[in-house]
Amino acid sequence: MQTQTASEFDVAKVRADFPILTQTVNGKPLVYLDNAATSHKPQCVIDTINHFYAAHNSNVHRGVHYLSQLATRELEGARDIVKKFLNAASDKEVIFTKGTTDGINLVAQSYGRKFIKEGEEIIISALEHHANIVPWQMLCEQVGAVLRVIPINDDGELLMEEYEKLLNPKTKFVSVNYVSNALGTINPVKRIIELAHAQDVPVLIDGAQSAPHLKVDVRELDCDFYAFSGHKVCGPTGIGILYGKQHLLEQMPPVQGGGDMIKVVTFEKTTYNDLPYKFEAGTPHIEGGIGLGRAIQYLESVGLDNIAAYEHELLEYATELIGGIPGVRIIGTAKDKASVLSFLINDIHPHDIGTILDQEGIAIRAGHHCAQPVMQRFNVPSTARASFAFYNTKEEIDALANAIHTVIEVFG
């Protein structure tokens, strides 16, 4: 696929793939700018899920019959699509989870409980989603480890020199997001990983917000774990991926026991299954996995580089237009950003902003974005957040700007 320049990007064509976008909300055309919360689903993904239930429904990995083999082949086909998407070395490294949260918890409870000991340290950052804070706090409580936090500057960028100071012989794990959902900052994860690896410390990358926007090659990044959610990459909810390096996954105990994750069970002893099934106890989210595979194929057909370039253009347009409105203050002004615009208007509470925009058919998020420490750092209870996808348009950003003027009028 050739990379188009952003202005050649055929947004009308991709919009036609998303049936939900044609509706009106409160009498106005829907302007969906809450993509960091979840993305919409193209017709091909909806069709794939429908077709699975209409024609292929069966349990996987256990049937000799026709449908079961078909379902198994489809699900394993999806795993292979993900493997190629991430450039993982093997299907064994691609574990189906419920989502990013589930993947991070898996690593904390499996790798963490086995390898991290009392007094040892785990590093996260001040930009994390609660999903990359709480599992580590729980682990710290269980094993007596200590959580250390890389601070950020006023632009919402990680202070790398502080990170270097935090790394020490007691550091046993680093877990950071690639893209911040609250501010949009793109973190220098390659450098973070290099520095950790120099001390033999493994790194998990929370890819919830990078997977939809940036092309990621796990081997090039050299991350040890990478977690993301299906629903943020145009796939279904309740499905996600945990990538892990095979030699690490092999040393890790399963967290859940049950069917599918075993080879032999007797009451004396159970032999666990091979990777990746060791971590996939129970009947999986079959149509979720298949739908995710289809979603990734769809994104690849649009082209992740095209998506990134077009979204960057949207972000620049929005930053200039919205940021230029008197009274608007943008929170998160990192040099390297993905398509998130967090903002405040005068002293108007974001919840009120959200309600007024909703009346105009515009969906944004108002709140702390599951990143309360980020809000505390900027000394605000919450922000309004517009987050863009490749199916958004500049006209929608114009609508947002107009609605912001309405907010300012209402509040005088």
């Binding site: 974001p350 919840h351 009120d352 007024i356 709140g367 209402v410 509040f411």
Partner: protein
């Protein structure tokens, strides 16, 4: 369709801008916390009781315009009222914002508080309007557990 001007009425905007009784009491009989975890609204409510009667009231905290105006107007409404009267108003107010009581056709003691009736068209904002009333309910009841609208 819900009408914005029903929600953000001038009186509500005015109370948001200049909340009444936005203060800490010197000798409170009761201090009660309330929050709405979804949007981070938080209120600290203080009552000074003279027997059964609310002699003085003050609130502090941060929140959206609806929750702040509701708190402000709640404090103005309960001052001088008995605990029993406050209980009735709180009950009626919460019913009204949920759309379970029509203040124009059903008997009630809400008076000026009727301007919050428009909130029922905005389901996401019912909790914001109800927070201060839930908090005062908890304050005058026996249990003083912090109120959460979740």
């Amino acid at each position: 369709m819900a009408d914005l001007s029903e929600l953000y009425q001038q009186v509500i905007l005015d109370h948001n801008k200049k909340p009444r009784n936005f203060k800490a009491l010197e000798t409170p009989s009761i201090t009660q916390e309330g929050h709405n975890p979804l949007c981070g609204d938080h209120i600290t409510l203080q009552l000074e009781l003279d027997g059964e009667v609310v002699k003085d009231v003050g609130f502090q905290g941060s929140g959206c315009a609806i929750s702040k105006a509701s708190s402000s107007m709640m404090t103005a409404a309960v001052k001088g009222k008995s605990k029993a009267e406050v209980e009735v108003m709180a009950d009626e107010f919460v019913k009204m914002v949920r759309g379970e009581l029509d203040p124009d056709t059903e008997e009630n003691h809400l008076g000026r508080l009727k301007i919050f009736a428009g909130v029922k068209e905005f389901p996401a904002r019912v909790k914001c309007a109800a927070l201060s009333w839930r908090t005062v309910q908890a304050a005058i009841s026996e249990s003083h557990d912090a109120v959460s609208t979740e």
